[in-house]
Amino acid sequence: MDKVLFLISAFLLVWGLRLQSDPASASKGNKYASVGMLIAIISATIMPIENSYDNYSWIIIPIIFSASIGYIIAKKIEMTSMPQMVSIFNGLGGLSAVLLSFTEINKWLSYTELYPQFVIVVLLVSLFIGSVAFTGSLLAFAKLDGYKWSEKLTLPFQHIINLILLVSIIVLSFLFIDNSADSNYLYILIAISLLYGVFFVAPIGGADMPVVISLLNSFTGITAALTGVIFDNKVMLLGGILVGAAGTILTVLMCQAMNRSLLNVLVGGFSSSGSSSKSSEQGDIKEITDSDFAVQLFYSQKVIIVPGYGLAVAQAQKLCKEIQEVLESNDVEVKYAIHPVAGRMPGHMNVLLAEADVDYSKLIELDEANSDFKSTDVAVIIGANDVVNPDAIDDTASPLYGMPILKVWESNSTVVLKRSMSAGYAGVQNPLFFRENNKMYFGDAKDSLQRLSTELKNL
């Protein structure tokens, strides 16, 4: 019975993940996967276990509490904080795996001296990866949430320190297995693994956090799979490996969207800290007034909006849609150009605009947008910066060089909505702002769009 249930659940997990890779069936896919998970939980609870004590109250109470907490968080969370949300959840998954491996190791040790070494090795690996996923995700969360630690924090000899940590983890593992049951080694091992997670993420810039989270997510998957080996549970193994593989592929896809290698991201890609040869070359910027901006848009034929993280932070997506409607009622064609890594996570902008009821067909992707700009009157850049930086194309010294970007400057004119002249996430100045046909419209995206919307309605 339980075996059949596990089989069904495994099928649902795989099929659900498959459906999630197509926009039309994604929602259904998630439901399948969650049903699969529910069946797996139920079967783990009812399956016959030798010498089982059941202890159901220890199982049901935590699940009820966490299910309600999870539900409330999921309901309340703003769509803008989605990346942070995922990283926190992933950290919890990692912590759960750490606790589990730790408890399981203790249990094996207390049994007898005849525990199989292989089991301990697998558990130690799972403990290590889980710890890295836990502290790594927490730091990634901190970097995404507010800009507090968003810079790359690099210690001197960072790579050597990391290497020493790794080596000491391996040495400690051997010591632990040799001097069986000496828990001191285990505690130091956990401490160093947790520290390693911090050092792993610290040198990576905030802009690369999505890639990191995706990678850490696949780590959690691998831990789940390893624990599955120990508990001899095939669904755990399957689910874990599935996530491990999917997370890895997703990580690679994201890196490709930024035209960088994973290694480059991990060693702190934008490490030249903006020493671009051109960054000193600045000129005058021109500001645009409310009414000029409104008039310019109103009498355009085609407007492309380029949304970025600024739009997300200001929660201005509904205003954006409002302006789109005003313009459309005046026969202005409005489209949204979505850069694959705009915002803090791939697809972040799509989720936001979907929340504001923007028609899916109005969103265009990188290649289509780049051929569209030539026939565009005004490109409006709302809180995006690095994804429209021309340095990526023509300045080999720029840390952004090589990243595919939106060539907004090919349109007749551009207007950049931005809070200040500060540099973007990559820490480099954007020469677009000083171009002849560009104007700046300063302010928080929400205030700015509010002003613009009022002005438009008065016309």
């Binding site: 993940l17 606790l99 589990l100 095939k234 689910g239 999917a246």
Partner: protein, 105 residues
């Protein structure tokens, strides 16, 4: 060393499963449009919470007097299920927005 070797032989089917699942994972995801990266990451993250099955099995096979193991395993279960339930709910919420869009458009 021989122990590891024995383990591999004893778990032949498991190893095959591992191999094919890795390929399956790559195959299933490889053609995802970037629009879906965020929900997919969130959905995959929820699935990685499957580690709680281990916690459930551990709790069930633990002596009721062994509070150390019971408490740690329940905390693991509690934390892990937040990941599972929260993850699925939030992914669902994100994807519903895409769906709503489809009907209007």
């Amino acid at each position: 060393m021989s122990e590891i070797f024995n383990f591999l032989i004893q778990n032949e089917v498991l190893i095959y499963l591992l191999l094919f699942t890795v390929l399956l994972g790559f195959e299933v995801i490889s053609k995802v449009p970037s629009v879906l990266h965020t929900p997919l990451m969130s959905g995959a993250n929820a699935i990685s919470g499957i580690v709680i099955l281990g916690a459930i099995i551990l709790i069930r096979s633990t002596d009721p007097e062994n509070y150390f193991t019971l408490i740690l395993a329940s905390i693991a279960l509690f934390i892990g299920s937040i990941n599972v339930f929260g993850g699925f709910f939030v992914t669902n919420r994100m994807l519903e927005m895409f769906n709503k869009k489809k009907k209007n458009g």
